[in-house]
């Protein structure tokens, strides 16, 4: 046999050796000699799509600190909240696009003031960037007070984080024609009124998203130079597309773009890691059970597999919930059950405002 570059490759370079058999999710990412993406004293902040909020109970269960800067006083904690706004470090809710993340931070810094910063609906003042809040302001003065407090909490979270986990969710978004402000949901779906003179559809490109994410990281590091980033791509397909494509094609395009962005940004910037949640859930090796029957929502088993891999190495005695796919069903029934039961309730309750676009959901 002639010498060739493949001979020097390890098993992980060969599908037959590490996917067809002996699949281990941990081998997908980074340097395996590195024990974990997290350190025990990290202050972790996360943002992104619905999938990003799944991380939080696992982090806290592991004894890591999920930084929360916008907590409610204890008396109000049992009151209902919509769409998981308070799942995250500050109550920003789901952030599906890198543009939205960048604009949120720019707002918090005071360098960006959206032209369409509030909607007056039925006597209430709605935040277009958090349109599903269960308790909107009753007046402009109250809106200003609540918004300023929220943005202050955003800054506190972002500036004190040692690890920032961001899950890229969508390329498709709705934005203001006036100043390009990106809304988390199309106006008129959760709240607000869609106006084609003021609102337009936008499907971001690789270049645009790469620029937004890079700018956000660079901007945040001006105030928080030591923060490390973990970038993931949500494996959850689009609930609906505003393009003319079939939703499956649109979803594939969107995830492909996001995956390229994640690769580019993580390879070009220091202390930015890509974590392959997307591959763990959607790769051909993934068992059928990683998705729910709607083939869109990730199942508890799938979430467990991702989180076990993400948090591996943190605890020496930690046993994995799910190892090779062949064992998944059995292990889920026997070992994963108890571990998951505590968090499954929270995950099941976490709603997704993206889903509001599909009236049938």
């Amino acid at each position: 046999m002639n010498n060739n570059p493949y001979l020097a490759q390890t098993d992980k370079a060969f599908w037959s050796r590490c996917v067809s058999r002996n699949f281990n999710a941990d081998s997908l990412w980074g340097d395996n000699s590195k024990s974990s993406l997290f350190q025990k004293d990290d202050l972790i902040v996360s943002a992104g799509s619905c999938f990003a909020s799944n991380l939080i109970p696992w982090i806290e269960k592991e004894g890591l600190e999920y930084l929360r800067t916008e907590e409610l006083p204890s008396q109000f904690k049992d009151l209902p909240e919509n769409l998981g706004y308070r799942n995250f470090s500050a109550a920003y809710g789901n952030i599906y696009t890198a543009r939205h993340l960048r604009q949120l931070y720019e707002q918090a810094l005071g360098v960006r003031v959206p032209a369409e910063d509030r909607w007056h609906i039925d006597g209430m003042v709605i935040d277009p960037f958090r349109p599903g809040l269960a308790y909107p302001a009753e007046s402009d003065a109250e809106f200003d007070l609540l918004k300023a407090s929220h943005l202050k909490a955003v800054l506190a979270a972002f500036h004190n984080a040692t690890v920032f986990v961001f899950t890229l969710g969508l390329t498709e978004a709705w934005q203001s024609k006036v100043d390009g402000s990106v809304f988390p949901a199309c106006p008129g779906t959760i709240s607000g009124i869609f106006d084609e003179k003021k609102h337009e559809f936008k499907n971001f490109s690789v270049e645009e998203i790469t620029e937004d994410l890079t700018k956000f990281i660079e901007l945040l590091r001006e105030s928080n130079p030591k923060v490390r980033f973990i970038i993931t791509v949500s494996p959850v397909p689009l609930v609906a597309t505003a393009t003319q494509s079939h939703v499956l094609l649109a979803s594939t395009y969107s995830k492909s773009v996001l995956r390229v962005v994640a690769e580019q940004v993580s390879s070009q910037l220091k202390d930015v890691s890509y974590f392959p949640a997307f591959e763990i859930i959607t790769g051909p090796q993934a068992p059928f059970e990683y998705f729910e029957s709607d083939r869109r929502n990730v199942s508890e088993i799938g979430v467990a597999e991702v989180m076990n891999s993400l948090l591996q190495g943190l605890t020496a005695s930690k046993s994995k919930v799910i190892d090779p796919p062949a064992e998944t069903k059995q292990m889920t029934k026997s070992r994963a059950g108890k571990l998951i039961s505590e968090i499954s309730r929270r995950i099941a309750r976490a709603e997704c405002d993206e889903a509001m676009m599909d009236k049938n959901l």
Partner: protein, 262 residues
């Protein structure tokens, strides 16, 4: 003074059974009860006002089904005044919890910039449950001549609460039983408690409107320049008003009597 009692004897009507006005409801009704027992009122009022309250005051304020059934029995042709709750702001927000919070409307001089602003809509939702039982009670009083909902007195000044707590071993015992040091207890600002009370008053007024009853809020004369309960109307505990306040209410009730047929 009690003449009529409920089936079990747990609840009693204080005053004349032929009184035109029947006052009922929770613990803030006691200020009216104390007032009608004052000699000057008894001489002047005749069979004007009666109060339906606990037969044994030490057993606590009214509230069970037997109590409300008793009120229904007494209500035919009467002007019924329901003193409803009135302590929600005290029961939940007397002491600061973490994180500290504020709401729009809290005055500038006591506004804490470190406090987390809470939406007023959230506060309303928090208090909403305390009014739900009214929707069951009011329809049962269909034979009454009129129904008036009344809230509790305005909040007391922080200094009054501090003095009560320091002087009364009851509060110290509660804190000890919970493992809390008294020094760690911080009373919420007057302005915050006042704004919470204002929200409660608004909810009460809205309930009255929805349920088709009158609403009577704390008399303006009972409040100081800041809107708090004036010291002369404070009972010796941390939340209630005294018989002098009850007399003010009686004056208001006389004005209301027959004003709006239910």
């Amino acid at each position: 003074m009690a003449k009529l009692k409920s089936k079990s004897g747990k609840w009693a009507l204080y005053g004349d059974a032929n009184a035109e006005i029947i006052v009922c409801g929770h613990s803030h009704a006691a200020s009216i009860l104390e007032a009608i027992m004052l000699p000057e009122i008894q001489v002047g009022s005749g069979p004007e006002i009666a109060v339906c309250y606990s037969a044994n005051w030490a057993a606590g304020p009214p509230g069970d089904k037997e109590y409300w059934d008793f009120v229904v029995e007494l209500s035919r042709g009467k002007h019924v005044v329901i003193v409803w709750n009135g302590n929600q702001h005290n029961a939940n927000f007397m002491f600061q919890t973490e994180p500290k919070f504020t709401i729009l409307g809290v005055t500038e001089n006591s506004y804490d910039k470190e406090a987390v602003p809470i939406p007023r809509a959230m506060i309303k939702d928090f208090f909403k449950i305390s009014f739900e039982e009214l929707t069951e009670i009011i329809p049962t009083l269909f034979n009454a001549a009129s129904i008036t909902l009344m809230n509790g007195p305005a909040p007391k000044p922080l200094t009054h609460i501090q003095n009560c707590i320091l002087q009364d071993g009851y509060f110290t015992d509660i804190a000890k039983s919970l493992g809390v040091e008294m020094d760690d207890l911080v009373i919420t600002s007057d302005s915050l408690r006042l704004e919470l009370w204002n929200i409660l008053a608004g909810l009460m007024a809205k309930s009255a409107e929805t349920l088709g009853t009158n609403f009577l809020s704390a008399p303006a004369a009972s409040r100081d320049a800041l809107g708090l309960l004036s010291p002369e109307y404070c009972a010796s505990d941390v939340t209630h008003a005294n018989s002098k306040y009850g007399m003010l209410l009686i004056e208001e009730l006389r004005k209301l009597k027959g004003k709006v047929p239910n």
